[in-house]
């Protein structure tokens, strides 16, 4: 088991180095010049200004030297300075990432908490009403466009019924909770700000449901299929012959075997939730990475783009590592 973990860690580190290289190369080799985007037509027509600007950002150096500088910075936790905001990219990311991480994590937990039990119930009561309901819900979640769902939710539960608060992470007149993480739920607990916690949680409900909608559908369907397969295995019949209670058979024998594909999907889904919250963040005025990414890309802000991409790929790697480790926990045949 220790060997397995060590092997996975080593592999993840290797992948991270490789990813940094690929990301840097792609960002620097794509056609598109930040000069025009940043300086404007008039200044960009003056070669002296352009040259000075290029020298300032190190764009006149050869590619390998720039990569060297980038790597050295990276090792010191420095992702460079954003061309657009003139702030260290890491500071920008530190400011925007917690909002996205909080939203994506809640959406992810929601997908698991709703998707897995619903999938199990649908498999156990196959072709019953709960199976049909789960199927309809999954189809709706997967196929409804995010922006439409987001507007509908806002229109109904905020505008119409007034059950949910409006866009944003907290009430506009409230102070954000003080804390080290930037995750409002955790920070408010940390600082003992009970009202801040309730307010943050209430603001998370609609956007996380919207963000999770598609993932809930996918996890429900995958769990159902895997459970149906698992329930047909011989060891389930053996468990019945042992006289075990039906729930013991489902939860202890069938479920652990069915979870492997669900974990695979879950890992991918979490990474996607982190990287793909742009639409939801826009509609819910959520100050997260998604919106920062969008503005950086529009400004051809290469240091910021490289930084974000790197953060996202490292998140992917970490999530994959978690998935690999869960495989080993779930299935002893993997532990080698």
């Amino acid at each position: 088991m220790a060997r397995y973990i060590g092997k996975r860690l080593l592999l993840a580190a290797l992948m991270a180095v490789l990813a940094s290289c690929v990301i840097f190369l792609i960002a620097n080799l794509v056609p598109g010049d930040p000069v025009l985007a940043q300086l404007g037509d008039v200044a960009a027509s003056d070669p002296a200004i352009v040259a000075r600007w290029r020298a300032k950002w190190g764009l006149d150096l050869p590619l390998w030297e720039r990569y060297g500088i980038f790597l050295t910075g990276l090792l010191h936790g420095d992702l460079g300075i954003s061309i657009a905001t003139h702030r260290p990219v890491l500071d920008d990311i530190r400011q925007y990432a917690p909002a996205t991480i909080e939203l994506a994590t809640i959406a992810f937990l929601l997908s698991l908490v709703i998707g897995i039990p619903l999938g199990i119930a649908a498999a156990v009561r196959r072709d019953g009403w709960i199976d049909s309901a789960a199927r309809a819900l999954s189809l709706l979640g997967v196929s409804a466009p995010t922006f439409w769902l987001a507007f509908m939710m806002l229109a109904i539960f905020y505008g119409g019924l007034g059950w949910a608060p409006g866009p944003g992470r907290i009430d506009p007149i409230a102070f954000p909770p003080e804390g080290p993480t930037g995750l409002f739920l955790i920070d408010s607990i940390w600082s003992g700000d009970w009202e801040g916690f309730q307010d943050s949680l209430a603001h998370l409900v609609l956007p996380s449901i919207v963000l999770a909608a598609a993932t809930i559908g996918l996890i429900t369907r995958t769990t159902r299929a895997a459970m149906l397969d698992s329930l047909q295995q011989d060891y389930v019949r053996v468990s019945r012959a042992k006289g075990l209670h039906e729930w013991a058979i489902i939860l202890r024998h069938a479920l652990p075997n069915a979870l492997v594909p669900v974990v695979t999907l879950g890992g991918l889904a979490y990474a996607n939730l982190l990287a793909g919250a742009v639409m939801t963040e826009t509609v819910f005025a959520w100050p997260g990475l998604g919106r920062y990414t969008f503005t950086s890309a529009a400004a051809l802000d290469f240091p910021a783009i490289v930084g974000i991409t790197l953060v996202v790929s490292i998140t992917f790697l970490l999530v994959n590592l978690a998935v690999d480790l869960s495989y080993a926990l779930l299935d002893p045949r993997v532990r080698r």
């Binding site: 295995q233 053996v238 012959a241 042992k242 006289g243 075990l244 024998h253 779930l330």
Partner: protein
């Protein structure tokens, strides 16, 4: 009522452990209601053993599942009663059923590879129902669990208990399954084909365990199997099933010696036996079981019955008492008469005397190692030592059997000889030419003369091609027909040759039964007039009667066409019935080779002794070999059989060469013939005794 009977009043006070009356189970399918079990009655008392035998589709497994009400959703028990110690099982509510299952009545299933949960530790699986039935607290149950594993002969039980299923061989897993079954000392144990997936020496070990449970703890056992030999070595009584019905019920020895139902008669006589004269034809009946959706109005066996009388076609026979304690569902034997023994087969033509002519197909010191993918960058590459130096020669017109347990390298040998694999070392000669490293182009002209028949008639025929297309393909590919028309005519001939109708050419493989498909496979091998056919387990996927048909066909073809067969099999009786000469393989080497009759009459190598004696056949003295074959990843030093050999000595640290120890007989043993076990009294009545009457 059809199928029911009045059982003679029992003198004992206790009700029998299991009493089944007129059980009826149906499958609800889209095509209609399939009567899978249609009127089966039997009883099993404490300490008794009952066998249920029949071919695939006869309803025997559905019967077994019905007994514990473990059927799938689309199956329903629609009639009859099942009583456990007088309790009505069919009336039990779900909670009662759960409390009863696994506690007083347990079941062991066929496939030990899938029956254990791969993600739970062995001990947990052995003990969870001890705890859930409230028999013991968890700590005590764990102790009992380890004890059960030890009792079932699991090596190093403490370590095994903490392991996961994938770390065990099939034989060990089946021991674990048995431990699970008997964990709560059930009064009734139902075993559904518990040894079918296992090798013959491992099968003997498991059957011994079952017998032990019955004798020591008085567990009533219902053993379901397609193999009469397995049943006969464990069960005193047997129910023979055909098309969902019990057709005969009697003491096992009586059925074997004097079957009273024509289907039981066919079953008994289709099995090749080790004590039959060499080269005797097997008795087989034509036709197939009736379509379960359209059962005949009269006797269900009537269309295939060699003994039928007028009444059979119109009137469905009930189970009738044909002799004291014997019941059969047959109008012919209703008056208590026996069925005639099968016509004594004409003495087979003496096998062609092997002259000094050079062999047709020959292997010299053949070696094949498969390199496994490395587990990590730095791990040494591991090798599977599949074949480790085999010398073998197939003469013209000869049939040579290669037998051994799974993993002994026999299938790899077949693939090396037909050059589907390229050997690691050694050489292969076909018709005197060295084809060891011949290129595909160089092999092409030879391929027609060296053909192969594979084990699985379902996987080896392309489901998207008609049988005609499958057979035309090789004929055209090798330019054996002037035109498509001529090729089609040849296909018609081929189908006739293997006993199928020429009109079948337009059908697809799925429209055929397993036996018919294997005939098509044989026709495909024959399409190019081969000199040699290498057949890898050609009958092991078939029911005994179909197996007899295919073996008889292959024997006829050999005589008519002068074929040579290399016949790979794990079933020794089949090899003995079919082959002139036999080679026994163990761990990639030939340990003994010689004429079939002599090897089976007086085996020389201890492994051959164990192998032949492990065949479950009534009236045989048995040697149960301990242990399992060593891993092929690291070959043992010295004699490969040393670790399991009952007569191993210091000298066995030297690998014994395969040398001639008697005229025409070779053995790789330092002490050939030393291992001759003392005869042990056999419990089940000997078949020979019955035949002498």
């Amino acid at each position: 009522m059809d199928g029911s009977l009045t059982t003679p009043p029992t003198t004992t006070l206790d009700p029998p452990v299991l009493e089944v009356e007129d059980l009826r189970t149906v499958f609800l399918t889209d095509a209609g209601v399939v009567r899978a079990v249609d009127g089966v009655s039997f009883r099993v008392g404490a300490g008794e053993t009952l066998g249920i035998v029949g071919e695939s589709g006869s309803g025997k497994s559905v019967t077994a599942l019905s007994l514990l009400r473990l059927l799938d959703e689309q199956a329903r028990i629609v009639g009859g009663t099942i009583r456990f110690k007088g309790q009505d099982v069919l009336a039990m509510r779900p909670a009662e059923l759960r409390a009863w299952r696994g506690d007083q009545a347990a079941m062991v299933f066929q496939d030990p590879m899938t029956g254990l949960n791969p993600v739970l530790r062995i001990l947990r699986q052995v003990t969870e129902h001890i705890v859930s039935h409230g028999r013991m607290p968890p700590a005590e149950a764990r102790q009992r669990g380890v004890g059960l594993l030890r009792r079932m002969g699991v090596a190093a039980p403490e370590r095994a208990a903490a392991s996961y299923p994938h770390q065990f061989s099939g034989g060990m897993r089946q021991r674990v399954m048995l431990a699970i079954g008997v964990a709560n000392d059930p009064a009734l144990l139902i075993a559904d084909e518990p040894t079918t997936a296992l090798d013959v020496t491992i099968q003997a070990q498991i059957l011994d365990l079952l017998r032990g449970l019955n004798e020591e703890f008085g567990t009533a056992i219902v053993l379901v199997s397609h193999d009469l030999g397995v049943i006969a070595s464990v069960c005193r009584r047997v129910v023979v099933m055909y098309a969902g019905e019990a057709v005969e019920e009697a003491a096992t020895a009586e059925v074997l010696a004097d079957p009273r139902h024509p289907y039981a008669w066919a079953l008994v006589n289709a099995v090749p036996r080790l004590d039959a004269p060499i080269g005797a034809r097997l008795t087989s009946i034509e036709g197939m079981p009736p379509d379960p959706l359209h059962l005949p109005q009269g006797c269900r066996f009537e269309p295939r019955c060699p003994f039928k009388i007028a009444r059979c076609a119109t009137e469905h026979p009930p189970m009738l008492e044909v002799a004291p304690g014997r019941r059969a569902r047959c109008w012919v034997t209703a008056d208590g008469r026996s069925l005639p023994r099968p016509a004594v087969p004409a003495t087979p033509a003496a096998p062609a005397a092997r002259d000094a002519a050079p062999p047709l197909l020959e292997a010299r010191d053949l070696v094949k190692h498969f390199v496994l993918p490395r587990r990590s960058l730095f791990a040494p590459a591991e090798k599977v030592h599949a074949v480790n130096g085999v010398d073998i020669a197939l003469g013209r017109g000869e049939s040579l059997g290669v037998v051994g347990e799974s993993g002994c390298g026999k299938s790899t040998l077949a693939r090396l000889l037909t050059r589907l694999h390229e050997p690691t070392a050694g050489s292969v000669l076909f018709e005197g030419r060295d084809i060891t490293h011949a290129s595909p182009a160089a092999l092409r002209p030879l391929r027609p003369r060296l053909q192969m028949v594979f084990q699985d008639p379902y996987a080896s025929l392309n489901p998207r091609m008609t049988v005609g297309e499958i057979l035309v393909e090789p004929i055209l590919a090798h330019g054996r027909a002037a035109s498509r028309q001529a090729a089609r005519e040849r296909v018609g001939e081929l189908l006739t040759t293997v006993g199928l109708k020429p009109g079948f050419a337009s059908r697809y493989p799925h429209e055929f039964s397993g036996g018919q498909r294997q005939r098509v496979s044989i026709a495909r091998a024959l399409a190019l007039d081969p000199a040699a056919v290498v057949a890898d387990e050609p009958v092991s996927a078939l029911d005994v009667n179909v197996q007899a048909q295919v073996l008889n066909l292959m024997q006829d073809l050999q005589q008519r066409l002068g074929l040579s067969y290399l016949f790979i099999a794990h079933d020794l009786a089949v090899v003995r019935a079919f082959c002139d000469r036999v080679a026994v393989m163990y761990l990639g080497r030939i340990v003994e080779e010689g004429p079939a009759a002599e090897i089976f009459a007086a085996p020389l190598h201890p492994y051959t002794v164990a192998l032949t004696s492990a065949i479950p056949e009534p009236g045989r003295q048995r040697v149960v070999l301990g242990g399992e074959p060593p891993s092929t990843l690291r070959l043992p030093e010295g004699c490969a059989f040393r670790a399991r050999c009952p007569v191993a000595r210091a000298a066995c640290a030297e690998p014994p060469p395969l040398r001639e120890v008697a005229p025409g007989r070779r053995a790789a043993c330092h002490f050939p013939g030393d291992f001759a076990p003392h005869p042990t009294p056999v419990r089940s009545a000997s078949l020979a005794d019955h035949q002498r009457r």
